[in-house]
């Protein structure tokens, strides 16, 4: 793989919630213009990682750099400026429930630009067209299916033409058709808008289909990174079990237990 320019750099990041260490000394870099996937089992803190990158959470130690800027050293104003270059697709869509589809997509444009209403109208329709929901512009968020909400949220996420976009578990709980649609959208948007996409997910098939670069996180550590060809070559260990969905392996099928003979004694 040729060496791509780095957009986001995470160095020795440590973060804990209460007693629990979620990330323990993680170092990784996310290349510009590619789709990078961060994979790991449920509860491994993938969403937390996105929030750390976007400066919504502060790490215990370690640094995050975006385009060379030290995210957690920035003032509140500077962080908000930086976030204008980011789009984020939340798991639930996180649409504003009191606005309809059109107004949701228009929202960042109206808040951050002084464009006349006709231009906003045209821009919003273009963004909705890109996600295939121009026909749904008058619907309220409560009238949308989960997949449609995510697509509207995606249209909103790209409304200000960000340089990078973060996807938080985009495929969870979606039917195969919606998954297919989302895979296509993530791919097309990344290529046509020249975005840098960061995807956290545990849906192996979809990720393998679109990701240029994959990082696997488990128990707070980065345990593997590389292109999918590299990762798929592993024939043992955690990565092999995870990518192939095997029930037993380094993560045992059985919860830690006493020997059978011991347990049966008291039956």
């Amino acid at each position: 793989m040729e060496q791509a320019e780095t957009l986001i750099e995470i160095k020795n990041l440590t973060f804990s919630r209460g007693e629990r260490k979620i990330f323990d000394d993680i170092t990784l870099s996310i290349p510009k213009g590619k789709v990078t996937a961060i994979m790991g089992p449920s509860g491994s803190g993938k969403t937390t990682l996105l929030k750390l990158i976007a400066g919504q959470l502060k790490p215990d130690s370690g640094d995050v750099f975006i385009e060379g800027l030290h995210v957690h050293g920035l003032s509140r104003k500077k962080i908000y400026q930086l976030r204008r270059k980011m789009g984020m697709l939340f798991q639930s869509g996180a649409l504003l429930t009191d606005l309809n589809v059109f107004d949701n997509v228009a929202f960042p444009l109206r808040e951050h630009t002084k464009l006349p209403e006709e231009i906003i109208y045209a821009l919003v329709l273009m963004k909705l067209q890109a996600v295939g929901l121009r026909g749904a512009k008058t619907l309220m968020p409560s009238e949308l299916s989960g997949g449609m909400s995510r697509r509207v949220a995606l249209a909103r996420g790209i409304a200000l033409d960000p340089e990078m976009i973060f996807y938080d578990e985009p495929f969870v709980g979606q039917d195969p058709i919606t998954k297919g649609v989302l895979v296509k959208l993530i791919q097309t948007l990344n290529d046509s808008l020249g975005l840098t996409s960061v995807l956290v997910s545990h849906d192996v098939d979809e990720v393998l289909e679109i990701a240029d670069y994959i990082c696997v996180i488990s128990e707070g550590k980065l345990i593997a990174e590389g292109s999918k060809e590299v990762l798929l070559q592993e024939s043992t260990g955690y990565v092999h079990q995870f990518l192939n969905g095997l029930p037993d392996g380094p993560v045992p099928f059985h919860f830690s237990k006493a020997p059978y003979s011991e347990d049966l004694k008291y039956g």
């Binding site: 976007a54 919504q56 908000y80 996180a94 960042p108 808040e111 951050h112 200000l160």
Partner: protein, 265 residues
């Protein structure tokens, strides 16, 4: 490892931990209030957001405030008449009703109802906005939720509660008139003239309004604080809503005593 703690020690430890938690919560509440005050100019400029919140907190609270005001005034004058009539002083029922409403019952009952109607809704809405990641989404869209969500609600409460309480008082006086004059036969002229001669603008009306502004700040800050700090689950939001009503009710009653002792002593 240190040796195991005795019962008294654990009790003391628990007490200390709870106290520290409460102190930290007070600190966070104070910081929230500071950031709201800083965001006030921005909230004033966003007339669209402010109007919407004035509608939600104020206009939608009108039915309950007006109905309650009417009945409180009616009951007050009925009770007052029954006592005053023994001393042949039933004409004083007008001034008694107006003074009780303006000084105490208007601000206190109005604010209690406001906490139950608008305060709880505010907490539930913000708690749910957090649990559905709408607040996070705003932050990610580089929109400050303090300016966009919290400050307009705070300002709207400060604008609407005093107005609601003025209407509560007006309806209360009207209810008193209905009961004492139309029903019990007190002379209408005496009813109004006693009232106008007894009620002082600064002493009664202005002091009552000062109370209502204080209560508005109190209810709004508690409601916002509980919403912002609600655990983002259905259980968390429901208990935060309950806490808003309980804390603001107790706060209103406590502050009312303090304010009364300063104003009318």
């Amino acid at each position: 490892m240190s040796r195991p703690l005795s019962g008294a020690q654990t009790l003391l430890q628990g007490l200390g931990a709870t106290l520290l938690d409460k102190l930290a919560a007070f600190g966070r509440g104070f910081l929230l209030m500071l950031s709201l005050v800083v965001a006030m100019p921005a909230a004033v400029l966003r007339v669209d957001l402010l109007f919407k919140q004035v509608y939600v907190t104020g206009v939608l609270s009108l039915p309950i405030i007006l109905t309650a005001g009417l009945f409180v005034g009616m009951v007050l004058s009925l009770q007052g008449y029954n006592i005053l009539v023994d001393f042949n002083a039933e004409e004083a029922v007008g001034s008694m009703t107006a003074l009780s409403l303006l000084r105490e019952l208007g601000p206190v009952v109005g604010a209690l109802l406001f906490a139950g109607r608008a305060g709880s809704a505010m907490t539930a809405e913000i708690g749910l906005m957090r649990s559905t990641e709408q607040i996070s989404a705003l932050e990610m869209m580089a929109i400050d939720p303090i300016k966009f969500v919290y400050a307009p609600r705070f300002l709207a409460a400060i604008i609407t509660l005093p107005l609601l309480i003025i209407m509560f008082n007006a309806l209360g006086v009207f209810g008193g008139y209905l009961v004492s004059v139309s029903w019990l036969g007190v002379d209408a002229g005496a009813f109004w003239s006693q009232m106008t001669s007894q009620v002082d603008w600064n002493e009664d009306v202005v002091n009552g309004m000062i109370k209502s502004v204080v209560f508005a700040v109190l209810v709004a800050i508690i409601a916002l604080f509980q919403g912002v700090n609600a655990i983002p689950t259905s259980e968390g939001v429901s208990s935060a809503t309950t806490r808003t009503v309980v804390h603001s009710s107790l706060g209103i009653l406590g502050f009312d005593f303090i304010l009364t002792s300063i104003m009318f002593n």
